[in-house]
């Protein structure tokens, strides 16, 4: 049984309440930091832990914290990014629903480390039930003296507020989130300045994902050095993985980083294999924005080794042949799924969610959606594949925020790894129109797919 740090007590009845969470060792990390540690020592423990941002980018959290500007007389803010909207990713909703106090405790630890006295949890607006759950948890923590003025007699004051979004994927990008929190459209800001210098209300701000903030609790409880021993190399600790698609047991799993991908997909402890006795065709391993990989490449690295659930192993070979751990959104496709149709679906998503600020993204995402729909519906020509390739290249790297890259990468990877499936749609327009996606030749993970 793998070690769990965040979901240890997930099955305990009432773990969503303060009382039960406390009985299971909750808020001990808050007591420890407020009574025995300085903010600098907390930052140092997080640095030692090797924790990397769990929202997708994987940037070292302790280093991000250490960039925070600390001018005299200017408030500092911690903002929790709970705007979970990446297709394939649903771990934060799960954590907030079942163990809300894990996030609240992490917010107190992190806010103390950063010297923040007002912190916000920006939750996507559609998660109204989770917003109410968090508000209740905050009220409980405040009633017990873990929030508000002079927490536990330490002299430290903190208020936490929950802010609902309005339904916009782009607000998961940290500067768009800050714009939204200021009551504006979610248009990303040009960086620099980074939020650590000029964030919320132009004040120094750290924006961290739900899982990153919750992870500070076991880091403080164990100590940074002990936490760093879990996992493998530069991928330390545990990670929540959202598993969906054509698998036997979809759901949220906590894994120790370093687990072989094959074990994650096929073992009964995790996904339980491919549903309905089908064979695996492809996997998107880190949320919809990361490149799709055919079955054999997700199981083996470009060098032929077993691919591991780590930042490094999943990115092995670079973006052209590899993928990313990203947000841990693991989408599995069985042999009956149509890659072209799925790519069109994702392209529609990114077109819909583009904020429209940058021309390459605003125009290019719509263009990709139209061309993909044309091919998928049996009206494409061979030149459309080259056109798609050309358009995605002109989006990547040419936008203020990474949404452009997120829109371009799935298209590039689909063409790179499944070009003959695009050609099949073009050469078999009648079958395409009747939606008979009869390509099963990628389905056997034991056979080489890309030479």
């Amino acid at each position: 049984m793998a070690r769990k740090l965040l979901l240890t007590h997930i099955d305990v009845p009432g773990i969503n309440t303060f009382e039960v969470y406390r009985q299971k060792g909750g808020y001990v990390a808050v007591e420890k930091v407020l009574k025995t540690m300085s903010p600098e020592e907390v930052v140092e423990e997080v640095k030692k832990s090797g924790l990397r941002g769990r929202g997708g980018a994987g940037f070292p959290t302790g280093m991000k914290w250490s960039f925070l500007a600390k001018p005299e007389g200017v408030p500092r803010y911690l903002v929790c990014n709970a705007d979970e909207s990446e297709p394939g990713t649903f771990k934060d909703r799960y954590l907030m629903t079942h163990i809300p106090h894990a996030l609240i405790e992490g917010m107190i630890v992190s806010s103390f480390a950063l010297g923040a006295h007002t912190s916000y949890i920006y939750v996507r607006g559609e998660m109204m039930p989770q917003i109410r759950i968090l508000e209740r948890a905050i009220a409980e923590a405040k009633e017990k003296g873990f929030l508000g003025k002079n927490i536990l007699g330490s002299g430290y004051d903190l208020e936490i507020y929950v802010q609902p979004g309005g339904g916009a994927y782009i607000c998961g990008e940290e500067t768009a989130l800050l714009e939204s929190l200021e009551g504006k459209r979610g248009n990303p800001r040009i960086k620099p300045p980074f939020p650590a210098i000029a964030g919320l209300y132009n004040c120094p701000t750290v924006v961290n994902n739900v899982e990153s903030i919750a992870a500070t609790v076991p880091i403080i409880n164990l100590g940074g050095d002990e936490y760093a021993k879990i996992g493998i190399e530069r991928s330390t600790g545990t990670k929540l993985i959202s598993a969906s698609g054509n698998i036997v047991k979809p759901g949220v799993y906590e894994i120790e980083l370093g687990l072989p991908v094959e074990e994650f997909i096929y073992s009964d402890e995790y996904c339980g294999g491919i549903a309905n006795g089908k064979r695996m065709k492809a996997v998107v391993a880190g949320g919809s924005s990361v490149p799709i990989l055919p079955a054999n490449l997700i199981l083996k690295t470009a060098a032929g080794n077993s691919r591991l659930m780590t930042y490094e192993s999943l990115a092995d070979g670079g973006f052209q042949t590899g993928t990313m751990l990203g947000s841990g959104g693991f989408i599995v496709f069985d042999e009956d799924q149509c890659v072209v149709r799925n790519t069109w679906n994702f392209a529609r998503f990114y077109h819909h969610e583009s904020c429209g600020q940058c021309s390459p993204c605003r125009e290019g995402t719509g263009w990709m959606e139209k061309v993909l729909h044309k091919i998928e519906s049996g009206h494409g020509s061979m030149s459309d594949i080259d056109l798609l390739w050309d358009v995605q290249r002109k989006i990547e790297g040419n936008t203020i925020c990474p949404l452009g890259d997120a829109a371009a990468w799935p298209v590039a990877a689909a063409i790179r790894h499944f070009r003959d499936e695009f050609e099949w749609h073009i050469l078999h327009p009648e079958e395409s129109q009747t939606r008979n996606y009869g390509l099963a030749h990628y389905a056997d993970p034991l056979q080489p797919i890309v030479s």
Partner: protein, 173 residues
């Protein structure tokens, strides 16, 4: 292009609603009351079912900002309904992972069951439905949600959809 003035109705905010506005604004530093715009628009929509131009004007006056600042926010975010919809707006996730497990089939069934196309309102004024982008519940798909509580319904089948709609109808009779 949708005009926010295209559909309109006059509103008067109740003292209870204004008290909720006040609680929202208290969360932010002095002078940063505009941060309350999204939470307040949610409160307005929960109260009236949608957000009218008059309501937006009054929110602007309350927050001491320009009406255009409210319009540009309300039109940017997909959750705010700028015209009247059915009493129950069924929003079904149509993004990749849900489609892998049958969301499109459920959308087709919803259209047949309700007898209206996406975005339209049933003749009894009870239901509207629309496809929405990823609802972050991919492992439990297909899923749909119903505001203003945004109650979730997971692992949808045609039978579950029928039962849900029949229950909502019975509730309003």
């Amino acid at each position: 292009m949708l005009s926010v003035k295209q559909h309109n109705v006059n509103v008067t905010f109740s003292p209870e609603l204004l008290a909720k506005f006040g609680e929202v604004v208290s969360r932010y530093p002095e002078g940063k009351q505009k941060s309350g715009l999204l939470p307040i628009l949610h409160l307005v929509q929960a109260e009236y079912g949608w957000v009218s131009a008059d309501a937006m004007d009054k929110v602007a006056a309350y927050l001491n900002i320009l009406p255009i600042e409210v319009y540009e926010v309300a039109t940017f975010y997909t959750m705010f309904l700028l015209q009247p919809k059915g009493k129950y707006v069924l929003e079904i996730c149509r993004t990749g992972p849900c489609c892998l497990v049958g969301a499109e089939r459920i959308m087709k069934h919803l259209e047949q069951k309700l007898g209206v196309k996406e975005g339209e309102v049933t003749s009894d004024g009870l239901f509207s439905w629309r496809g929405v982008e990823c609802l972050a519940a991919c492992g439990f798909g297909p899923v749909l949600q119903i505001g203003p509580e945004y109650t979730f319904y997971e692992h949808l089948t045609e039978d579950k959809v029928d039962e849900l709609i029949d229950n909502l109808k019975a509730k309003t009779e």
